[in-house]
């Protein structure tokens, strides 16, 4: 199963055109995020244009922002914050959620019941609200944002992984392994995990999208990434004054967010059938 999933031929032949385009867009933003400081045409914090909300010109491809800074450079560096924080958050959420979910399914009993109840209740706090309360209490910084985003989305990941693991747990090979006297850690690592990794990866992608959306929303409300740094949500917020003039400075960060999130969603929607079906 594991070898099959990592075999590019099996994935490759089943990808359609939409899936390939989506993957290319994701790859593009990943590259930009990694190499941002090397490829920005202008220094990111420097005021390069005396005009503000400047139009798209050959010198400033995406116009200039409310202080006359180059938008293209700011979006490139913004990609680092948006993609980086969201990736760290989703890794935290999925690692915690999947580990706990598999353990709960294997161990069962009171541990499972109490943990499930508790996380379900936790899940019933609307995510944006949770972010607002935490940031109001502890203040906003990048580590706080990552941990908060991770905490908000861990219960959903737990529920998803547990549901899959409970199904796998009833299989004969797990019963055999248990009869052999294998411990919980072995069961989780060797028997359960390889069998749920496909759907878990699809869920990882969806959760990444939700975290990007939530992070942008928090930044848009002014409680996410703090100035002078700016992720894409913060870029929309600080250039909102350009909205009545339809300035490129407010339109392009929005397009950047949409291109990333729509691509990830499209990629997951066009995943090979056997992975996607089990993911739903």
């Amino acid at each position: 199963m594991r070898a099959g999933l990592l075999n590019p031929a099996r994935w490759g032949v089943q990808f359609n055109l939409v899936g390939i385009c989506a993957a290319l867009v994701i790859l593009f933003w990943a590259t930009v995020a990694v190499f941002a400081p090397l490829i920005t045409p202008h220094p990111v914090g420097q005021i390069v244009d005396f005009d503000y909300f400047g139009p798209m010109t050959s010198q400033y491809w995406l116009g200039t922002d409310y202080l006359g800074r180059d938008m293209l450079s700011r979006i490139m560096v913004g990609a680092r914050y948006t993609v980086g924080i969201a990736l760290a958050g989703v890794l935290l959420a999925c690692f915690a959620g999947v580990m706990l979910g598999m353990t709960a399914a294997v161990v069962g009993g009171v541990f499972d019941t109490v943990l499930s109840r508790f996380l379900d209740a936790f899940n019933s706090i609307p995510s944006l609200l949770f972010g607002l309360v935490v940031v109001a209490a502890v203040g906003s910084s990048i580590p706080v944002l990552i941990v908060t985003l991770g905490l908000i989305y861990a219960p959903g990941s737990y529920r998803f992984a547990r549901a899959l693991a409970v199904n796998t747990n009833t299989m004969d090979f797990v019963t055999v392994a248990r009869a052999r006297g294998e411990g919980t850690l072995y069961l989780v690592r060797e028997e359960i995990f390889p069998n749920i990794i496909g759907p878990v990866l699809a869920d990882f992608g969806l959760r990444f999208v939700w975290i990007v959306l939530l992070l942008s929303g928090l930044s848009f409300l002014g409680i996410g990434v703090q100035p002078p740094n700016a992720d894409w949500g913060q870029l929309v917020r600080e250039n909102l004054g350009g909205l009545p003039f339809a300035a490129p400075a407010v339109i392009f960060p929005s397009i950047a967010i949409a291109s990333l999130t729509i691509s990830v969603n499209m990629l997951i929607d066009n995943l090979p059938q056997r992975v996607r079906d089990r993911a739903e």
Binding site: R117, F118, D120, A121, F122, S124, I125, P126, S127, L128, L129, L132, V133, V134, V135, A136, A137, V138, G139, V209, L213, S216, G217, F220, L221, G222, I223, G233, V236, L240, L243, P244, F245, A246, V250, I251, S254, I257, A258, T261, I262, V264, N265, M266, D269, E280
Partner: protein
């Protein structure tokens, strides 16, 4: 299991003749399910209140110190701590706070020393109106689109709606809002850009200022509901008993409405409940973008002034209303489940 289900969604006239013994057993089953569901809601209420209360306990440093600033004398800080009851253990303050909430006393704002109930009372109606109108519009819209796209799966209509919904689901709510302002206020100039609800003079004005926030909120809430409703109906359509109905010659609308839908109501109610969490987030964003005088705007402003009692109260109001709506949707799902109805 599906075989047993096949005969269930029959006209109520037939079920009336079912043996009375089964009726009581199944009704007891419904009662147990409902009680269990309400119990879960109660536990959630306590855990959520606990979380909201203690999130603010995470605050590094001392609340009294922060309120009085760097220049405060230690005596002043100690006096304020006593006055605010901060000397008591956190658990006592939590119980007192819950007791106050139960009788509608939410404490006093740190920033302007006004009773919070008063601050919120003025604005709660506005928020409820926004959320209520959006829900009333989005549920019928989403159900219609979700069910019809499932009926005509893989048609052009279904594909267009699918691409639209996945695109809208993937973008943040504030982007829908700014996009709509750009189109309707800046290019078309149908509505005022970033309207203020304060200078509403006529019904026409009201509609124009209200149209964008409500429209976008409706859109944001509907799309998730459409996707999940469609998935739920398609799931039921692939069961053998619906296939049987189609083979018998039932038309597609009849197979969906009479046979598949009664069994899909549970998942659909669940979908509506889940989408309502988008409603809460959506209300927060809409009120901020459109400068709408509601509770969410109050809360976002309170975050920037770190007015903790006000934030707690607003958060509790949102969490409680969300829990209430989710419970309502789940109860509706249990009551309408044909497997439990007779």
């Amino acid at each position: 299991m599906t075989g047993g289900v096949a005969c269930v969604p029959r006209p109520t006239g037939l079920s009336a003749s079912a043996p009375g013994r089964w009726t009581t057993v199944l009704n007891r089953q419904i009662a147990v399910l409902l009680l269990r569901r309400l119990g879960i809601t109660l536990i959630s209420l306590v855990i959520v209140s606990f979380a909201v209360f203690f999130a603010t306990e995470l605050l590094p440093g001392d609340v009294a110190q922060i309120l009085l600033g760097q220049a405060a004398t230690p005596e002043a800080v100690a006096g304020l701590r006593t006055a605010m009851g901060l000397d008591e253990p956190a658990i006592i303050r939590f119980v007192k706070w819950m007791g106050g909430l139960a009788v509608g006393d939410m404490g006093t704002s740190y920033v302007n020393n006004t009773p919070i109930a008063e601050l919120i009372g003025n604005r709660l109606g506005n928020s409820l109106r926004l959320a209520g109108v959006a829900t009333a519009l989005s549920v019928p819209l989403a159900l219609t689109l979700g069910i019809t796209t499932a009926m005509y799966r893989r048609s052009l209509y279904d594909r267009v709606i699918s691409v639209l919904t996945i695109s809208i689901v993937s973008v943040p709510e504030f982007m829908l809002a700014t996009g709509a302002v750009l189109i309707f206020a800046v290019y078309l100039q149908w509505v005022p850009a970033l309207s203020m609800a304060s200078d509403v003079a006529s019904i026409g004005d009201l509609l124009r200022t209200f149209a964008l926030p409500v429209g976008i909120l409706t859109l944001a809430v509907s799309v998730q509901m459409i996707r999940m409703t469609r998935a739920a109906v398609i799931d039921t359509l692939s069961t053998p008993y619906v296939e049987m109905a189609l083979l018998k010659g039932a038309s597609m609308p009849r197979a969906v409405l009479k046979h598949a839908l009664p069994n899909a109501i549970g998942p659909i109610a669940n979908a509506i409940a889940l989408s309502l969490s988008y409603l809460i987030g959506g209300v927060i964003i809409m009120e901020t973008v459109f400068n709408y005088p509601g509770v969410a705007k109050l809360m976002v402003d309170a975050v920037s002034t770190r007015d903790l009692p006000l934030i707690q109260s607003c958060a509790i109001i949102f969490c409680f209303s969300y829990l209430f709506l989710v419970t309502l949707a789940d109860v509706a799902g249990i009551l309408s489940n044909p497997r439990l109805r007779h």
